[in-house]
């Protein structure tokens, strides 16, 4: 019996017996590249298959053998004309199964949603406890460094100061300069209408030193360094570097967390102040052009109209924001386990949480300092 063979694709012919039972004659290569179109057609056959003839099959691999064997198994059909290779492959597949789940089973929607909400709330609770626990462990480690057995890794701190602070100078500077320009320009438009054009100096000076300098720096540092802390530590967790440190007797808290937190705490007030200065310079530059206030007059006026406590407000917030950013970054990094997707997820969480916490705290500080009489 000769069969029409398509180039590269497997094909078959069906012959029905008197009682309706089918004899399938397969032809062509029966390999992974050729059974794609054949398989659905075989599955759609109606009527019991009694015999599967393989004498027209030139070539076979496990996928082809599986197609034949599954058809034979489901119909209790007989396989005839199989080459030695086909028989060997089918024999190897006989004990294997093709059924069963390929992804873990999902719960039905009505169960899944409450379960998700419950898990989420529990995770939120655990996360809060976890970060408090982490803060406690870190303070303990800091205590040991200050008064006891452990040593401060000065080199690591210096390195982190460089990464968090020095390398951030260009971007923070540029951003603050531009924000200063925007505030001065927009402020001037509104204030000139009221006839208080010179008040632009007050606006730029006070808002930069008090609020915007430190807040924008915090957001930038959270994005630059908080994320990198989480990703670095998370990757080290995955590659078991953290475990290796523990077994050698190096505390990850002491070697990884403390230097990063300390660096962030030290650098944040400096970066915040630098940012405020650049933003004032930006404001002064635009005022020279649009308000006819000479540059140096603007700078001198800032000294007169901005109270010193505005500077303190900015400087006090700095270390607190630095602590929050570094702590969330390191904590989220330490929580990584399992796979590489987790590193990305934890990094995102670290940045989002840090920025959110910074803004909430900033609001709290605003009220607090005003109550204190530093309004």
């Amino acid at each position: 019996m000769t069969l029409p063979t398509m180039r590269d694709q497997a094909d078959f012919t069906v012959q029905a017996d008197d009682d309706g039972a089918l004899t399938i004659a397969l032809a062509g290569p029966l390999v992974v590249s050729s059974v794609g179109y054949l398989d659905p057609r075989l599955r759609q056959l109606d009527g019991p298959v009694r015999q599967i003839d393989l004498s027209g099959v030139q070539e076979i691999d496990t996928t082809g053998a599986w197609t034949v064997w599954r058809l034979a198994r489901d119909n209790a059909a007989q396989i005839t004309g199989a080459s030695e290779e086909a028989e060997r492959l089918i024999a190897a597949l006989r004990p294997l199964r093709g059924d069963g789940a390929i992804v873990p089973e999902e719960l039905p929607l009505l169960t899944r949603v409450p379960a998700f909400v419950g898990d989420y709330m529990m995770a939120l609770g655990r996360g809060t406890l976890g970060i408090l626990e982490f803060l406690g462990a870190m303070l303990l480690a800091a205590w040991k460094i200050a008064f006891g057995s452990s040593r401060l890794r000065v080199n690591a701190v210096v390195r982190q100061v460089e990464l968090v602070g020095v390398t951030a100078l260009p971007i923070v500077g540029l951003m603050s300069f531009l924000v200063g320009i925007v505030i001065a320009q927009q402020g001037a438009v509104q204030l000139q209408d009221l006839g208080f054009g010179e008040m632009t100096v007050n606006l730029v000076g006070r808002i930069s030193l008090r609020e915007l300098g430190i807040l924008m720096t915090a957001i930038m540092v959270a994005g630059r360094s908080g994320s990198s802390f989480a990703a670095q530590i998370g990757t080290m967790k995955l590659t078991e570097e953290i475990d290796a440190m523990r077994t050698i007797g190096v505390s990850p808290m002491e070697a990884l967390v403390i230097p990063r937190v300390l660096a962030a705490v030290l650098v944040m007030p400096l970066l915040g102040f630098y940012s405020a200065l650049l933003s004032i310079i930006g404001g002064a530059a635009i005022s020279t052009l649009t308000l006819d206030i000479p540059f140096w007059t603007f700078i001198n006026r800032v000294q007169e109209v901005v109270p010193t406590h505005d500077l303190w407000v900015g400087l006090i917030k700095g270390p607190v924001f630095g602590l929050i950013i570094a702590l969330t970054g390191c904590y989220q990094g330490m929580q990584v386990k399992g796979n590489s997707e987790e590193v990305g997820h934890r990094t995102t969480v670290a940045v989002v949480q840090a920025i959110f916490a910074v803004i909430v705290l900033d609001a709290f500080f605003a009220v607090f300092f005003t109550e204190l009489g530093w309004g």
Partner: protein, 276 residues
Amino acid sequence: MSALHYTGDCPIVVEGLTNAFGDHVIHEGLNLTVRRGEIIGVVGGSGTGKSVLMRSIIGLQAPAAGRIEVLGQTMHAGSYGGGEIDIRSRWGVLFQGGALFSTLTVAENVEVPLREFYPEIGDELRHEIARFKVMLSGLPADAAAKYPSELSGGMRKRAGLARALALDPELLFLDEPTAGLDPIGAAAFDALTKELQDTLGLTVFLITHDLDTLHEICDRVAVIADQQVIAVGTIPELLALDHPWIQEYFNGPRGRAAADAQHRAKAIDKSNGQGA
């Protein structure tokens, strides 16, 4: 055999391969020919460039000089075209750590090459293929729905093997498949490799440090030293050579222990055979 499969005698031919990282020369004028249907073991000290050789052959590493021919196609690093069928659908690679995609389950990992090369295969058949390949690699059926992070090191290697076998390759590259496995797991993996070679007619390129693997399943062994393949042959043939590294490798305490184990196993087989 039709044109779908390679019918020549030497699926891998490496001629004059030179690899260097900066000033550090890894290979210089390396030659190697792998015969169809054999399991070739590649040995060499650490840092002699066994993995680099494998990466050059599969096109992940651009060699500084030399010609590499795989399944009759000349390889150019970074490009896999040229042949009638994409060469990558005709080989399977098991990396040292398994290199499973960590966000996919084992079965989904096996499905990746199937989806990539043969999108016409229906979901039903593709799932079935994934499941039976998982079992063919010696994993229990319920491992199919697990994520790589839930598996032990040995199971991860088997899952990697299942993915390497997804397209019924003609060539199988194994990078230290038994490293990090317990002796029972390693012996089982050896037996599996041998069995798959017999059933599927594979040509296997096997990098290993495992002397038992070499004795047990390798048809020939290629020794890399001094930036070259200094010898290729069966273990007795290699032992007849007078190279100090080869002598130390196969005649060191571990080499002898592996050889003795092999002799004992053969003797037991023989006496069982007579008893039956």
